[in-house]
């Protein structure tokens, strides 16, 4: 760290800008440094268990579901909205996908496709409420999220759907191809797709533009409402995928299995905005954010830390994430 301070304060700068040059640096590269530091520290503390290929694959596997849902959330956040319903929808849709297979008898691919569409539909409803009715997205998605919790209990009566889940469904998450867990492969594909959509398509440019300045976007001919609705739909579909993969991993549809993903997704997204860009939300950043969280949890598990540490870690990382993200915007030169 001392060296970074030296390089940041060129001799012609007055000494009082020292503080001002370290903070923007931290806001840009702090998360990456943090991730590397964690890996180094854990490797020293647990040289047998932590720095192994199988553990790294394991970390990626654990990170993948959170990364997918956080990737979707990133799109909603880029467009300038928050979606608090994603954890609850993922839980519900995990239950729904098993229900459709076990109770309705739908073939596995049909059930999965249908549930992803339901996820997008939930996003569509969120988008309509936010754009056409003008409800603040925090309130709107808190409302729809709570309704979804109700739907979930109504559908499953609160009991897990475990009996009769097809093996082919369970194999999706638990299987491996070329030695790599399917979850990781799916995550890589989804993240790559999200990156392409956001950075390299006109809808992605529109999403960024609307998040940057909705008025200027509208006057540039961008259909602001439609763009926001699409962003919510992408977010909802990603939540659905996470719910499905979680149900597949657990081998059952469990009522509140994915609720916790809400918090970690937000932490990942905000950590991501403090990565490489000045407080701007972006997909690649979210990947780093999700990795930090996964490595942290993995470390806690290896050291056998009591459960309460997980909550402290998760809450703490959320605050650090949002703090770094604000620093990035505060000291960005624009």
């Amino acid at each position: 760290m001392a060296e970074t301070i030296k390089t940041e304060t060129a001799p012609e700068r007055p000494p009082h800008s020292l503080r001002l040059s370290v903070l923007p640096f931290l806001a840009k590269y702090g998360t990456i440094i943090g991730l590397l530091l964690m890996i180094v520290v854990f490797s020293f503390l647990a040289p047998v268990a932590f720095p192994t290929v199988s553990n790294f694959v394991n970390v990626l596997n654990q990170a993948s579901l959170g990364m997918i849902i956080a990737g979707g959330l990133t799109v909603a956040v880029i467009v300038g909205e928050l979606d608090l319903s994603i954890g609850f929808s993922a839980s519900f849709l995990g239950v729904l996908v098993t229900g459709l297979m076990v109770w309705v008898g739908l073939p596995v691919p049909v059930a999965i496709l249908a549930v992803i569409l339901v996820g997008a539909l939930i996003g569509f409803v969120n988008g309509i409420i936010v754009t056409k009715i003008g409800v603040n997205s925090v309130i709107a998605t808190l409302g729809t999220g709570t309704i979804i919790v109700g739907l979930n209990f109504a559908y499953s009566s609160g009991a897990p759907i475990a009996m009769g889940v097809p093996d082919s469904f369970v194999d999706i998450a638990l299987g491996r191809s070329w030695g790599i867990p399917h979850n990781v492969l799916i995550m890589v594909v989804v993240i790559a797709l999200l990156w392409i959509v956001v950075e390299r398509t006109s809808i992605g440019q529109s999403i960024q533009a609307v998040g940057g300045n909705p008025v200027a976007s509208r006057l540039s001919g961008i259909p602001v409402h439609r763009v926001k609705i699409i962003a919510f739909m992408i977010c909802g579909a990603c939540a659905a995928l996470t719910g499905i993969l979680l149900a597949s991993s657990l081998g059952s549809g469990t009522t509140s299995a994915a609720d916790g993903y809400l918090l970690s997704a937000f932490a990942a997204v905000f950590l991501g905005s403090a990565t490489l860009r000045d407080g701007e939300f972006h997909i690649l950043g979210t990947v780093f954010g999700a990795l930090i969280i996964a490595v942290g949890f993995n470390g806690l598990a290896i050291f056998g830390a009591p459960t309460f540490y997980q909550y402290v870690f998760q809450g703490g990382i959320l605050i650090v994430a949002v703090g770094l993200s604000s620093l990035g915007r505060l000291y960005s030169t624009t």
């Binding site: 012609e12 700068r13 007055p14 009082h16 800008s17 001002l20 392409i196 390299r200 398509t201 006109s202 809808i203 440019q205 529109s206 960024q208 533009a209 940057g212 300045n213 008025v215 200027a216 976007s217 509208r218 006057l219 540039s220 001919g221 961008i222 259909p223 000045d278 701007e280 960005s332 030169t333 624009t334």
Partner: protein, 521 residues
């Protein structure tokens, strides 16, 4: 908490001509742009010191450094003979420096007095703010700057000119010794500006140093005791009042001979009508507007602030729906329900508020230029991937064509100066096939050089058959630029001026004549 002192009771500098504040060799760079390359300027107590320069010349940077918003790379600021570091805006205030920015920072939910006292220490009574005593103390200061309205009025109900008075009053209450005004008259009417000038003179007479930043050279010549000109981050001129000429100012700002005036031809009025507006109405601002627009014509819309010009073009651009009236584009009925529809029909709008409505500041120049033209940048409708290289090259060629000063098209547009931002806001539309381009106050807050360039671009586009509607509150701007000028007043077209009849005087006369007849009626 002592009672607020009268502003005239401030300590006077030892020698009458000793500067209150002196800036020596101040330098600052942002990224690869050297915004200030070592400038000197000194401002005496009791003088109105004019500061002129093109956009990007370093005026805003100087203000930011004085205000403690940013720190210089090199150079010193000397106040009352002592080298001083202005670390924070709070420090600037305590040093007696106050700043009235172009966009006034007032809290609309609070009333006048609350805004004046915002953030300042207030006298208390039983632990609560003693507003009654405060009002009694502020009132004489307010009266001095000509605040005639009650101090408990809501900010939202005041005009821009009245908000200026509040900002000045706010500075006086804080016992300011240097008042920096950035483009104060940009959104004021002529009469309001006159009143402001008197206040500025009074402030100077009471011993306050005033740094007056403006693009309007007439004001500078009229008002300032001394003038400093910046160009490319350096001081290129400093003149006393007696030596000031308009020509000298323009030449030092532009860095060469003044650009020649444009002459418009009236042959375009014989061409076919591309766009016709009849009986357009959206109450209360637009009552009855009708006009024709010819192919390749530059049509000026003049008038006072609030005449209904911006509201009219918002309807043409589909941003608002008319309550009545018809529009015809290329012979077909035209009733856009959204900007998207207006754009698809071939209409573009460069809005008045370029920072809040025209651009996405944190995104790159290329991003902003590409935004209006995303469909054309896609590989194919089936595979909607963007050709990023194409986007960059398109942005680069437009940047070159409009002479936008930027190190690259990849930097955020918010880092460019006002005039260059305006060019990017214009460039956005040149990436498309347009029939009509509407520009709302295209040279507001833009220096003479950039303004001449923007005019040249507009004329050039007209030569190539593009029809343009230009709104301007600056009566001097339209005559040289437009083929025809419509003067709007209180929601109707009050006068149509063509050819040699479209002069500054004729425009001003028509702008005011209509409202006067209304008043006397």
């Amino acid at each position: 908490m002592p009672a607020l002192e009268q502003t005239s009771a401030r300590p006077q500098p030892a020698a009458p001509d000793a500067p209150f504040i002196e800036v020596r060799g101040l330098a600052k760079h942002f990224g690869g742009v050297q915004a200030l390359a070592g400038v000197d300027i000194d401002i005496r107590a009791g003088e109105v010191h004019g500061l002129v320069g093109a956009n990007g010349a370093g005026k805003s940077t100087l203000i930011k450094l004085l205000a403690g918003l940013q720190q210089p790379d090199a150079g010193t600021i000397v106040i009352d003979g002592k080298p001083t570091v202005v670390e924070t805006p709070e420090r600037a205030t305590s040093l007696g420096l106050s700043f009235i920015h172009q966009e006034l920072h007032l809290v609309p939910q609070l009333n006048v007095l609350e805004n004046i006292m915002l953030g300042a220490p207030k006298p208390t009574r039983f632990g609560m703010v003693d507003w009654r005593r405060l009002a009694a103390e502020v009132k004489p200061i307010a009266a001095k700057v000509g605040i005639a309205f009650p101090l408990d009025r809501e900010i939202a109900r005041l005009s821009t000119a009245e908000k200026w008075l509040i900002s000045i009053c706010r500075a006086l209450v804080r016992k300011c010794r240097l008042m920096v005004m950035d483009e104060p008259t940009a959104s004021l009417s002529a009469a309001e500006a006159e009143r402001l000038f008197q206040i500025v003179r009074d402030l100077a007479a009471s011993g306050i140093a005033v740094l007056y930043v403006s693009h309007r050279l007439d004001e500078i010549l009229d008002l300032c005791d001394r003038v400093t000109a910046f160009r490319d981050g350096r001081r290129v001129l400093q003149l006393e009042r007696g030596d000031l000429t308009r020509r000298a100012l323009v030449e030092s700002i532009v860095g060469g001979a003044a650009p020649e005036a444009l002459t418009a031809s009236d042959t375009v009025l014989k061409r076919d009508v591309i766009f016709r507006v009849q009986g357009l109405r959206r109450l209360p601002m637009v009552k009855n507007v009708g006009f024709d627009l010819h192919r390749g014509e530059v049509l000026g819309l003049a008038g006072l602030v609030g005449a209904g010009r911006s509201e009219t073009v918002r309807m043409i651009f589909g941003a608002d729906r008319p309550h009545g009236g018809t529009m015809t584009l290329d012979g077909a009925a035209f009733a856009p329900r959204s900007p998207v529809e207006a754009m698809q029909a071939g209409i573009g709008l460069v809005p008045e508020e370029r920072r809040s409505e025209g651009l996405i500041l944190e995104k790159s120049v290329a991003f902003n230029i590409g935004l209006t033209n995303l469909k054309a940048l896609e590989l194919s409708p089936l595979l909607p991937l963007l050709k990023m290289g194409r986007r960059t090259s398109q942005a680069e060629s437009l940047v070159k064509r409009l002479l936008v000063k930027t190190p690259s098209t990849a930097i955020p547009v918010g880092r460019l100066s006002g005039g260059n931002q305006q060019k990017v806001a214009l460039a956005k539309w040149l990436a498309r096939e347009l029939k009509i381009l509407i520009l709302d106050e295209p040279s507001r807050g833009v220096d003479v050089g950039a303004r001449a360039e923007i005019h040249r671009i507009i004329r050039d586009l007209a030569e190539h058959g593009l029809s343009t509607i230009v709104i301007s509150s600056d009566a001097e701007e339209l005559p040289g630029l437009c083929d025809r000028v419509l003067v709007m007043s209180e929601g109707v077209v009050a006068a149509e001026l063509k050819g040699t009849g479209a002069t500054r005087e004729a425009i001003l006369h028509a702008s005011y004549a209509h409202s006067e007849t209304r008043k006397s009626a």
